[in-house]
């Protein structure tokens, strides 16, 4: 009887100690710390895509490129916030949506281009002539997409308000003109537990 009682008392403890993992829908909003998370990243990307595709810059750009799809390259997105944020996630999402819209085409980033050039150098030496890719056929970009993520934090005790502002710009590489500027702001109020037993 005593053993059964002890087992009954221990069982909840054993169960409570185990790691629990469950799959979630990727669109589920789940805020844990109040920091920048996947939901913020997705909100920024969605807003930016809409804004970018509906922008007046596109018609002008097509006119300049004489009916061809404007070619865009992703530059840097500076993280000027107080959190270690991977800005690549919403840039990648934005890039994917723009390519899939069929309105613009993207060229690889400078680091990717470096890798590709090395690959072509190696092909020159090791690949058959029929499959070898030639140098000097790269497509030059017309525009560069770059931006900055800023944040302002106001904190008092366990309560804080954090304000994020993401600005993305499309810059004409030839003229340095900013032809599109998208902005998304997110404001969060975070109240953390201050007392426990």
């Amino acid at each position: 009887m005593k053993k059964l009682l002890a087992l009954a008392l221990l069982l909840p403890l054993v169960v409570a100690c185990g790691t629990k993992v469950e799959r979630m829908d990727e669109n589920t909003v789940k805020d844990l710390s109040g920091n920048w998370n996947d939901t913020d990243s997705r909100m920024v990307a969605e807003t930016m895509i809409q804004d970018c595709l509906n922008g007046g810059w596109y018609a002008k750009a097509v006119k300049v490129t004489k009916g061809q799809e404007p070619v865009v390259i992703v530059g840097t997105v500076d993280n000027k916030s107080m959190e270690h944020i991977n800005t690549d996630t919403f840039i990648e999402e934005l890039q994917r949506a723009l390519i899939n819209s069929g309105k613009v085409s993207f060229v690889a980033s400078s680091q990717e281009r470096g890798d590709l050039r090395n690959e072509r150098l190696e092909q020159d030496e090791y690949a058959s002539e029929a499959t070898r890719k030639a140098f000097g056929k790269e497509v030059g970009a017309d525009y560069m997409l770059s931006g900055v993520l800023n944040s302002i934090l106001d904190k008092e005790g366990r309560k804080s308000v954090v304000f994020y502002q993401v600005n993305l710009k499309l810059i004409d590489i030839e003229t340095n003109q900013i032809i599109w500027n998208g902005q998304k702001q997110i404001k969060k109020y975070v109240a953390k537990k201050s007392l426990t037993f």
Binding site: K80, S81, M82, R158, K192, S194, T196
Partner: protein, 438 residues
């Protein structure tokens, strides 16, 4: 004899429950490894004792202690993951626990999880930033600089009576803001650094550190070298058992107590004989080191002395001095609470058994348990250096061998280290660092 065994059993249980973090011997062992340059061994020892010495209760302290040998071995990514965990743990600790607060009034200050004081928290930003800089990741280094600036602004505006600003961390953040082109932020941080240095001027021989800017600096590259030197003082427990009875006669007469710690015997016998109060408080003990200065020599040129930019040892002492009033207040409150508990236990037992001897025995047991649990909070980030020294040199663009010379207090060069083939670029700042605990 049976009673004595019971008392020791209670004492043992209480000691185990005290969760006091690293012992003095453990600190000395790790410290000695670091002094010999065996940072790998120090890291392994800390990791091995994660649960045994630190536990969940002192996980912040574990991460802090671990980060220094990792940084010293240039394990930048590992060190930054450890420091991130430390910062997260500190954030979680802002939740006040009613039961743990109560524990500080009836058991000891170790019932609270370890919370880092301002200077330790500020240094987590410095170390993380330094690791990012060494990995050539200015963007993430700047994130830490912004966090540091915000933390110190917040502390300065909320903590008016304590060590509430960190001159060196402010100075360091100003350099990173300059590197990112945020010149107004850099100016604010530099002003804050100067103000904070003025506040603690006596630690820096009466003048804030100053580095010369050559006229042709725009045509040159800059190299900043940090010397993370020495061993920060560690805390020891200072305990006084105030007994009205002659306890030492009994201690000396009992052969069963051979090999048992003097503090334990003292507390148990003081408790066993009744009217005693043990008072404990932390005290900082210097952890000696022989390297007291350093200089930097570029490609065999004239050595340039490093300057003291952060006196962590003095900061630790100042912080403890400021905490002492609250520590003494809690100690006295605890002593009174424990005394009341003893009297109540004794009276209840006498009443229940109608036997004064049993009552006295229960009172003695409670008193012994109270005395043995009276341990000072000796936890601190003990793997930190005692000081940070810095050299700031401007060099034409190129590749250099940069030698660090380490001096004892007589000015003898007793050790050296060479940073080989350091690339200096025009208009750019390069950061180097070396840890010594000899």
């Amino acid at each position: 004899m049976r009673n004595a065994r019971r008392i020791f059993f209670i004492a043992l249980c209480c000691s185990l429950c005290a969760c006091g973090g690293p012992s003095l011997q453990y600190k000395k062992d790790v410290s000695s490894m670091m002094a010999k340059g065996n940072f790998e061994g120090a890291q392994a020892k800390i990791e091995k004792n994660k649960n045994k010495v630190y536990g969940e209760h002192n996980k912040l302290l574990y991460y802090l202690d671990l980060s220094i040998p990792q940084t010293a071995q240039n394990k930048h990514e590992d060190a930054n993951k450890t420091l991130e965990s430390a910062q997260d743990a500190q954030e979680d600790l802002q939740v006040q626990s009613v039961s743990q607060n109560l524990g500080t009034l009836v058991i000891n200050d170790n019932t609270q999880p370890y919370r880092a004081p301002v200077y330790e928290q500020a240094l987590t930003y410095f170390y993380r930033s330094l690791n990012y800089l060494t990995m050539q990741d200015l963007q993430d280094a700047a994130v830490e600089a912004r966090k540091a600036a915000f933390f110190l602004d917040y502390t300065r505006s909320h903590e008016t009576k304590t060590y509430n600003d960190d001159p060196f961390v402010q100075y360091f953040t100003s350099m990173i803001f300059e590197d990112t082109g945020s010149l107004s932020d850099a100016r604010i941080s530099r002003d804050n650094a100067n103000n904070a240095y003025q506040k603690y001027l006596s630690w820096y021989e009466g003048k804030a550190p100053a580095f010369n800017l050559p006229k042709d600096y725009k045509d040159m590259g800059e190299v900043v070298i940090f010397h993370l030197n020495g061993k920060v003082p560690y805390k020891i427990s200072n305990e006084i058992s105030l007994a009205w009875d002659n306890i030492w006669f009994a201690v000396n007469a009992n052969n069963d107590l051979k090999g048992v710690s003097g503090d334990v015997i003292d507390a148990v016998y003081a408790g066993a004989f009744g009217r005693s109060v043990t008072i404990s408080f932390p005290e900082l003990k210097d952890n000696p080191y022989i390297i007291t200065g350093s200089a930097v020599e570029v490609d065999g040129g004239q050595p340039v002395k490093t300057q003291l930019v952060a006196d962590i040892a003095a900061t630790a002492k100042e912080t403890l001095k400021e905490q002492n009033a609250a520590i003494y207040a809690r100690t006295v409150t605890r002593a009174v609470t424990k005394f009341i508990l003893r009297v109540q236990a004794q009276n209840s037992a006498t009443k229940l058994t109608k036997d004064k001897n049993v009552g006295a025995l229960v009172g003695a047991l409670v008193s012994a348990a109270s005395n043995i649990t009276e341990k000072a909070d000796t936890r601190s980030w003990f793997t930190l250096p005692a000081e940070i020294r810095m050299a700031d040199l401007f060099l034409p663009q190129g590749t250099y061998n940069i030698k660090m010379l380490f001096y004892d207090d007589r000015g003898n060069a007793i050790d050296e280290y060479v940073f080989e083939k350091v690339q200096i670029n025009k208009g750019k700042r390069t950061y180097l660092y070396r840890t010594t605990a000899k």
